[in-house]
């Protein structure tokens, strides 16, 4: 099980979502992807997509206007 950081700071929608989709495909089941974002609409669409795909998702506000979307790949 590994943990991968995906730096999407400074990227506007929908780039964080597309990058997260791409990165998660490369990972194995049980791996954790942490998407770092500072665009509030990515805070909505990245978790929504990951939950719809059936992964475990958690959003953490790490700083003013900065979030980490933590996705555990389950399938």
């Amino acid at each position: 099980m590994k943990e991968v950081m995906l730096d999407c700071f400074g990227e506007a929608c929908p780039i964080p979502l597309v990058k997260a989709e791409k990165k998660l495909k490369e990972l194995d089941i049980g791996d954790i992807l942490i998407v770092q974002i500072d665009h509030s609409c990515a805070m909505k669409n990245v978790p929504e997509w990951a939950m719809k795909e059936g992964h475990n998702v958690e959003v953490e506000e790490v700083n003013d206007g900065e979030w980490e979307v933590i996705i555990e790949k389950v399938k």
């Binding site: 990227e11 003013d64 206007g65």
Partner: protein, 218 residues
């Protein structure tokens, strides 16, 4: 019964290393006197009311209903439908005139209405006020949610994309006599066919734009 009285911004307390605003919550037990007041400090950022109204994004439906209501108010009070990008063209003209230029002969500004708007100035232009309101409102909402951040420019490609995209959108909006607000939102709200035509081509443009984005920005 326990009643919570929230005194917003009643008290600000600074902790050693963080400046989170605290506010006073006074707990009144039923029928109690002032002596029985049990005051305690609650971090404002943990309060339900704060979280629901200021911190968390409102649902899309709430936004849609509010936008619809306010565009009706706009039409009723100013006599013209809600528009955003048209005001920017006027701002451009005012800036150009401030440097001694003249747009009187320009086709876009040649109509009587356009001339009247320019002569009345920015302070008498409802669209300009509204645009300033949008910018100020966005700033206030993001500050209240403590989500303000000055974002770094990641690459030169981002700069090019922003400038080219902005120019294309601005040019397109003026050529089409409206942007996604004036032409699309206002058009559809006024039961005009042009709004729907605009929607179809905007959707097509968005599809092409998304493909280009994935190709050049990934």
């Amino acid at each position: 019964m326990i009643i919570y009285y929230d005194f917003y911004f009643a008290k600000f307390v600074c902790q050693k290393d963080d400046l989170y605003p605290y506010f006073l919550v006074i707990r009144l037990n039923g029928g109690s006197t002032l002596e029985k007041l049990n005051a305690r400090m609650v971090k404002i950022t943990n309060h339900e009311t704060y979280k629901r109204w200021l911190k968390t994004a409102w649902p899309y439906v709430t936004g849609a209903v509010l936008l619809s209501l306010f565009q009706i108010v706009t039409l009723a009070t100013t006599g013209s439908p809600w528009g955003v990008s048209g005001a920017f063209a006027n701002w451009g003209a005012w800036i150009y005139e401030a440097f001694g230029g003249s747009v009187d002969k320009w086709y876009y500004f040649s109509s009587e209405g356009a001339q009247a708007t320019l002569n009345n100035g920015v302070l008498n232009n409802p669209d300009s006020w509204r645009n300033i309101g949008i910018i100020a409102g966005s700033l206030i909402s993001v500050l209240l949610a403590s989500q303000f951040k000055i974002k770094k420019i990641k690459s030169f490609r981002q700069v090019i994309a922003a400038v080219v995209g902005g120019l294309l959108m601005g040019y397109g909006a003026r050529i089409a006599y409206g942007c996604n607000i004036g032409a699309l939102f206002g058009g559809i709200a006024s039961l005009s066919l042009s709004g729907w035509v605009f929607a179809i081509f905007m959707f097509a443009g968005a599809v092409i734009g998304s493909k280009l984005l994935v190709k050049f920005f990934m």
